[in-house]
C-alpha cells in the first residue's frame, strides 16, 4: 500500500485544435483516495464564457450513474444547483473560447474510497477569474452511484474540445 500522496499521471494537451477528451486508463487500485487537478479551457463557447467539464467514470454513460449538488458565485450573485440521475458527472469549470487568451480555470477534485463497491463521493473546488466579467467560483459535491471501483476517468468539455496547454494531473493518496 503506497503511503501519502503520490503522482500517478499528468497529461498536457499539445494539439493546436485541442482534444475531445483527456482520459486516465488503468487507474491503480492500491490507493485509498484520488486527487485530480485540472487546469483547462475549451475551444468553443456555446454562448458562455465559462463552460462545464464533464467526467465519465469507467466509460459509463447510463443516466442513473451520476448526481451533483453545488453552489457558487460570480462576484455579485450566488447560486445553488442540483442535478440527479445524470449521464455524466458535471464537476468543474473551463474557460471557453470567449474568455481572453491565456486564461485557464483551476480545479481540485477529491474522490473518496474510489476502489469500494459503495457510492463514490466526489468534492470539487472550481474557479475561473477573468478580471471583470464572467468570473465563477464554486464548491460541488458529486457522486458516482454505481458499485464498480473506479478504473478509468475521462474529462470532456460542454463546448468543443479541451484546448491546447490544458493540463490534468492525477494523484493517489495512500493510508498512513
Amino acid at each position: 500500500m503506497p503511503k501519502g500522496m503520490l503522482p500517478i499521471y499528468t497529461q498536457t494537451v499539445t494539439a493546436a485544435g485541442g482534444v475531445a477528451s483527456i482520459t486516465f486508463n488503468n487507474i491503480p487500485q492500491t490507493f485509498t483516495d484520488l486527487v485530480i487537478m485540472p487546469s483547462f479551457r475549451a475551444t468553443l463557447n456555446g454562448g458562455v464564457v465559462v463552460t462545464n467539464a464533464n467526467i465519465i467514470v469507467n466509460g459509463d454513460t447510463t443516466s442513473t450513474a451520476y448526481s451533483i449538488t453545488g453552489f457558487g458565485g460570480n462576484g455579485s450573485s450566488l447560486y445553488s444547483e442540483r442535478a440527479a440521475t445524470q449521464n455524466t458527472l458535471r464537476l468543474g469549470f473551463l474557460v471557453s473560447s470567449l474568455g481572453t487568451a491565456n486564461y485557464f480555470s483551476t480545479n481540485t477534485i477529491t474522490v473518496g474510497d474510489y476502489t469500494s463497491t459503495k457510492v463514490k463521493p466526489w468534492v470539487a473546488e472550481t474557479c475561473t477569474e477573468n478580471n471583470g466579467t464572467a468570473n465563477w467560483t464554486g464548491l460541488y459535491a458529486g457522486a458516482f452511484r454505481l458499485p464498480n471501483p473506479i478504473t478509468r476517468i475521462a474529462f470532456t468539455s460542454d463546448a468543443g474540445n479541451i484546448a491546447q496547454n490544458s493540463t490534468v494531473t492525477l494523484y493517489g493518496i495512500g493510508k498512513a
Binding site: N26, G73, N135
Partner: protein, 190 residues
C-alpha cells in the same frame, strides 16, 4: 524495480511517463517554511520552476486590531494586474464579491491582534501550472477564520495577468509573531 506504463495518451496529448508506484516519490515536497518572529510582511523567494503546481498554507494573524483582508502578490508585481472573485459566509449570510484591477489577490481574511488570543486564520492556496509561460496564473484559495462566536470563511479565485513563471510570493500584510507560511511543490506524474 520495473517501470510500467499504465495509460496511453490519446492523439494530441502529451503524457508523462508513469512509473511503478513502488518507485514513485511523494507528490508534495516542502519548499519553504517560514515562522514569523518579528511582525512584518513576508516574501517567499527563489521558488524553483521544477514542480507542476504549488500549494501555500498560511496561518495568519495580523497586527491590525480587527479582521482584515489576506492578500498575495506574485513576483513582487505591485501593478494593478490582479483580480479576485469570492464566495464569503459569516455564519448568518453569504455573499459573492468581485474586485478587478487591484495590486494584489484577495486570498481571504486574517484575524487581527485584538481578536481572540492565540487564534490564527488558515489559508490554503493552490496554484496550478505556476511555471507555464503560455498562460496567466489563476489561483484557488480557501480561508477559515473563526474566533468562537464570530468568523468568516471564503472560497476565492484570483488572477495575475502575467505569463511569467512564479518565482516569489509576498504576503503584503503585516503578520505578527507566530504566523507561519509553508510552501509546497507538487510534482507531476513521474
Amino acid at each position: 524495480m520495473a517501470i510500467r506504463r499504465f495509460s496511453i495518451a490519446e492523439p494530441g496529448v502529451k503524457s508523462n511517463k508513469f512509473w511503478d508506484q513502488d518507485t514513485a516519490q511523494g507528490a508534495m515536497e516542502p519548499i519553504n517554511s517560514t515562522v514569523v518572529s518579528v511582525a512584518g510582511t513576508v516574501t517567499l523567494s527563489s521558488i524553483p520552476s521544477t514542480y507542476k503546481d504549488l500549494m501555500l498554507v498560511i496561518n495568519a494573524r495580523t497586527d491590525s486590531s480587527s479582521l482584515s483582508s489576506g492578500l498575495l502578490r506574485l513576483n513582487g508585481d505591485t501593478g494593478t494586474n490582479y483580480s479576485s472573485t469570492m464566495l464569503i459566509g459569516n455564519g448568518t449570510s453569504a455573499t459573492s464579491e468581485r474586485y478587478s484591477n487591484e495590486s494584489f489577490i484577495r486570498i481571504g481574511y486574517a484575524i487581527g491582534s485584538s481578536q481572540l488570543a492565540t487564534t490564527y486564520s488558515t489559508q490554503v492556496i493552490q496554484i496550478l501550472d505556476y511555471a507555464n509561460t503560455s498562460r496567466f496564473k489563476t489561483i484557488l484559495s480557501r480561508d477559515a477564520s473563526d474566533t468562537n462566536g464570530s468568523g468568516i470563511t471564503q472560497l476565492s479565485a484570483g488572477l495575475w495577468r502575467n505569463t511569467a513563471a512564479i518565482s516569489s510570493l509576498t504576503y503584503p500584510v503585516s503578520l505578527v509573531s507566530g504566523s507561519t507560511l509553508t510552501l509546497y511543490g507538487i510534482k507531476a506524474g513521474a
